[in-house]
């Protein structure tokens, strides 16, 4: 399990704003925007990958900091 990375909105156009990622995030990194999800508090991200694995639309990805 990667612990170094941070969440990134890899495929913003695929987001359907269902909010599942917000439900599974343990540290409140994400926020609902009008048309897609937004990263509101990236500094909180612990790279747990809950959002990446739960997102039904493959929008989010946890990547290494330098990517």
């Amino acid at each position: 399990m990667a612990r170094k990375g941070k969440v990134k909105i890899a495929r913003p156009d695929w987001c359907k704003v269902c909010g599942i990622c917000i439900e599974v995030c343990p540290v409140e990194v994400l926020e609902l925007g009008n048309t897609r999800i937004q990263v509101a508090h990236l500094e909180n991200c612990i790279g747990c990958e809950n959002c990446e694995l739960s997102c039904p639309d493959f929008v989010l990805k946890v990547v290494e900091d330098d990517e």
Partner: protein
């Protein structure tokens, strides 16, 4: 997890058309990650699906795929496996496709213990056609065809598959993608009939109609009602009321169907050459 899921998805078909908050995408994602971990050859894998929301899964997957008639995914899969036993054959089906119109094929494929992995998307409703009750809609729940509450009993599909002869039976849920990935991976690597029921939320046609709420509320519902099988086994019957066990529920090793069929061929051919 560091899995490049792009190579398993048909990019020209994405984004998929499942509703916002539908759990089917989570199951699809868990499947491709499980497949990546299993080490199976993508080129030697066939994914077959029937009709319904779940039936769309094969269209999004970058494998050799078949999208077939309603309820008959397992029959086509049996044909593919019999014709070429070297292939990994995977069936994506739903509770309507797999348990209602295709229920007969489910029990008979289980009975034969043919080496097919079934991922059944159970969203407790016919979602695509407007929310009619399915064999997996719990008693008392509301659907468009049961406005006063469903009077039917629902199946326990895992028990059904087990008693019909499936040699690997498990249940996962969209709230627990890590566990689901592990479960599907084990199912893929199991030699014999592997039946995996995945609980997915249908916020549009089931959740809102039954006062559970939207996708996030339905995931909370899963969180409150899912129990690992080892814990479930130790509980009293009263404690189990309303709870659902998850994980590998049953696994045994038995002779597989295409192996037995090959044995028949070998015996007959040997007999002919002796004459």
């Amino acid at each position: 997890m560091d899995v490049n899921i792009d190579k398993y998805l048909r990019q020209d078909k994405m984004p998929h058309i499942w509703c916002p908050g539908c759990g089917h995408g989570t199951v699809l994602g868990s499947f491709v990650r499980a497949f990546d971990q299993s080490g199976l050859d993508q080129e030697k894998t066939v994914v077959i699906s029937g009709i319904g929301c779940s039936g769309r899964a094969s269209g999004y997957l970058n494998f050799d795929t078949l999208h077939v008639t309603h309820g008959r995914a397992l029959t086509f899969a049996t044909g593919v496996k019999m014709a070429n036993p070297e292939l990994n054959v995977i069936v994506m089906t739903g509770d309507g496709d797999g348990a209602a119109i295709g229920g007969n094929h489910l029990i008979h494929s289980s009975r034969r213990n043919i080496d097919i992995t079934v991922v059944l998307f159970n969203n407790n409703i016919y979602g695509m056609t407007g929310g009619q009750f399915s064999p997996m809609t719990p008693t008392g729940d509301t659907a468009t065809t049961s406005p006063y509450g469903n009077i039917d009993q629902n199946f326990d599909l895992c028990e059904l598959a087990k008693s019909s002869g499936a040699t690997f039976v498990g249940r996962g849920a969209s709230y627990q993608p890590r566990k689901m990935i592990k479960l599907i991976k084990e199912g893929l690597l199991h030699k014999g009939f592997a039946f995996i029921e995945t609980l997915t939320q249908c916020p549009v046609n089931y959740g809102k109609r039954n006062m559970i709420g939207g996708a996030r509320d339905m995931l909370k519902w899963q969180d409150e009602h899912l129990v690992p099988d080892k814990k479930y086994e130790k509980m009293d019957p009263e404690e189990r009321e309303g709870l659902i066990s998850t994980g590998v529920l049953y696994q045994v090793s038995k002779e597989e169907y295409t192996d037995k069929y090959q044995q028949v061929i070998n015996n007959v051919m040997a007999g002919e050459s002796n004459e």
